[in-house]
């Protein structure tokens, strides 16, 4: 066998065993277990309270707005990790550059804030 693939052999064994074990247990429970359904058992689980509404509810657009803002700012923050790791080598000039970058992000945040896009309670 290809030596590169050989190193994955134990993993393959684990996967095969896990699938067999899982299927066996589920199958046995299905065959041997008693089946007495009632209303509470067959309804979907919603933290113990009585389920309300349909499962495929629509979400308010403000969730979408917040999620997008989160994604954009989150991804911008990614640039700070490699910078932080190598700050010792890069020195003060890189600190200034990152400060400018951060300031630009802050301008964006201030704009979003004043526009009311992150005001959760506003109707």
């Amino acid at each position: 066998m290809n030596p590169a693939l050989q190193s994955y052999f134990p993993l393959a064994v684990v996967i095969v065993l896990a699938v067999i074990l899982g299927l066996t247990l589920l199958g046995l429970a299905n065959l041997l277990g008693p089946r007495r359904p009632n209303e509470a058992k067959s309804s979907p689980f919603e933290f113990g309270s009585r389920p309300s509404g349909l499962g495929r509810d629509r979400f308010d657009v403000k969730f979408y707005l917040l999620a997008l803002l989160f994604v954009v700012f989150d991804v911008e923050a990614v640039f700070m990790y490699p910078w932080a790791v190598s700050l010792g080598d890069l020195g003060w000039p890189s600190f200034v550059v990152m400060a400018v970058f951060g300031a630009t992000l802050v301008v964006g945040l201030v704009y979003v804030w004043k526009k009311g896009a992150i005001d959760w309670s506003r109707e």
Binding site: P93, T104, V110, Y111
Partner: protein, 486 residues
């Protein structure tokens, strides 16, 4: 690390970004009074960026990823002029529709900063980022009014096809990176092989989408028609200039560094693109009665003539002639097209409800008899139409002449013949507007008066077109001096 020199070289770009941030904040902090100052601020930042160009040291930036050469400086000037003129146009257009906001100007400034950066880029990654900065701003401008069905649809089509093109360009860059170990255009030197060829082909396809070359032009008419008119003017002038600047740099690097011939006359890839673009753009413009759509097809045709200039630039014997011809063409087209769209903005029908049957909002019949009602407006429109058609004495004639001269210098006679023949075809549909204005009786209601800022934009553009038409020497000399450093 950035030195003082680097910052000076980047100053035009930095000023545009700063302007965008200032206008963004002005919208949330200073909106109590009127918004008249916003267009003024935008023009001030555009002027400051243009003024910073002569002081920018000519040097290589970011370890070879960008260069602040004369070529980039010229493109920056064209972009700033386009930004200022379309801010003037935007002020009047938006104010009469009661939708003037700081975001409009901020987006235009962000877009212009991307265009300036693209004009400087000599690296595929930097070019990708610059293209995205420019495009995301322009997509948003297209959707800006958020009224009626057309603007969101225009933005939607532009976004889908534009980001599709960007993704193709990026994948091509990835293959290029695999073949050369770098994303610098200069890394092509001495390269070859299937991987590099595949990468370069995908990059070329992505750029052909951006410059709207046939057969990658399908989005243009819909986007130009649906976007608000000032945004259309800005994208026609600015996006075209920036994308062609990078295309020229890329093609020159390709010719210098690889065994692939892209610029051969009719046989080569670019030659084929140029011929198709000139012929198809003009043919589709012929039957258009909708003037806005006609201008969109005209912009496709103009991309064909610009490609002829790029091909001339790719030949060693006509390289300097070709690059300066591209620059002259970009400058002349930018001013002319913004002027034409400004007149169109005055003439377009304002619907009481946004979705009313507005297919005839830009119909050529709205121009009928304009010469007797608004002689100056009709005169300006006639100048812009003649310039687009390439009739002397206008800037458009100077531009077409220098492109065809450069192609003749490259001995690309086939391209010259196709170019001249399609230009003659173009005269027909441009003159239809002139004929309607001067020889047909007025049918429609009295056109609305041009807001003062729009009138200024029209006057400045018309003056520039005529001055360059009568004495082209300053512009062509400047373009010849704007050297391109690899």
């Amino acid at each position: 690390m950035p030195s003082g020199q680097d910052i000076a070289a980047l100053l035009p770009f930095l000023l545009l970004v700063l302007g965008a941030l200032v206008l963004m904040l002005s919208e949330v902090f200073l909106r109590s009074g009127g918004r008249g100052y916003q267009s003024g601020l935008t023009i001030a930042f555009a002027a400051a960026a243009a003024l910073a160009v002569p002081f920018a040291p000519q040097q290589v930036l970011f370890g070879g990823q960008a260069v602040s050469d004369g070529f980039a400086g010229f493109v920056t000037m064209v972009v700033c002029a386009g930004l200022a003129l379309s801010a003037l146009l935007g002020r009047g257009w938006l104010e009469t529709r009661n939708m003037e906001r700081g975001e409009y100007y901020a987006l235009a400034l962000f877009g212009a900063s991307g265009m300036v950066l693209l004009g400087m880029a000599t690296d595929l990654l930097l070019a990708f980022i610059a293209i995205e900065v420019m495009s995301l701003a322009v997509y948003s401008l297209a959707a800006y009014p958020r009224r009626g069905q057309r603007p969101p649809e225009a933005a939607f089509k532009y976004f889908i096809l534009g980001s599709f093109a960007s993704a193709i360009l990026l994948y091509g860059s990835a293959l290029y990176y695999g073949a050369t170990g770098s994303t610098l255009l200069s890394a092509m030197r001495g390269g070859g092989g299937a991987l590099l060829a595949a990468g370069l082909s995908l990059i070329l396809v992505g750029l052909a989408f951006k410059v709207a070359a046939v057969p990658f032009h399908a989005w243009t008419p819909d986007v130009y028609e649906g976007a608000p008119t000032p945004a259309t003017a800005f994208m026609a002038a600015g996006v075209k200039a920036a994308a062609f600047a990078f295309l020229t740099r890329g093609v020159l690097a390709m010719v210098a560094g690889t065994p692939f011939a892209v610029g051969n006359e009719l046989g080569g890839v670019l030659g084929l693109l140029a011929v198709l673009t000139m012929v198809v753009g003009n043919l589709f413009a012929l039957p258009q009665r909708n003037v806005k759509r006609m201008l969109a097809y005209s912009s496709i045709a103009q991309a064909g003539y610009l490609l002829v200039g790029v091909i001339a630039a790719s030949r060693p014997e006509s390289r300097a002639q070709g690059t300066s011809a591209v620059l002259v063409y970009l400058a002349a087209y930018a001013v002319t097209v913004i002027g034409a769209f400004s007149v169109l903005a005055v003439m377009e029908k304002r619907e009481p409800t946004p979705d009313a049957g507005s297919a005839d909002a830009w119909d050529v019949s709205r121009f009928a008899g304009l010469a007797s009602r608004r002689p100056w407006l009709a005169f300006a429109m006639a100048i812009f139409m003649l310039s687009l058609a390439g009739v002397p004495p206008t800037a458009g004639f100077v531009a077409k002449l220098s492109v065809f001269q450069a192609a003749a210098g490259a001995k690309a006679w086939g391209l010259v013949v196709v170019g001249v023949l399609t230009s003659i075809m173009g005269v027909y549909y441009y003159l239809r507007v002139v004929v309607a204005m001067y020889m047909q009786p007025a049918e429609m209601e009295e056109p609305a008066a041009a807001p003062p800022t729009v009138a200024i934009a029209i006057a400045v553009a018309a003056l520039l077109v005529v001055v360059v038409g009568f004495s082209p020497e300053p512009l062509t000399a400047w373009a010849r001096a704007a050297l391109l450093r690899m």
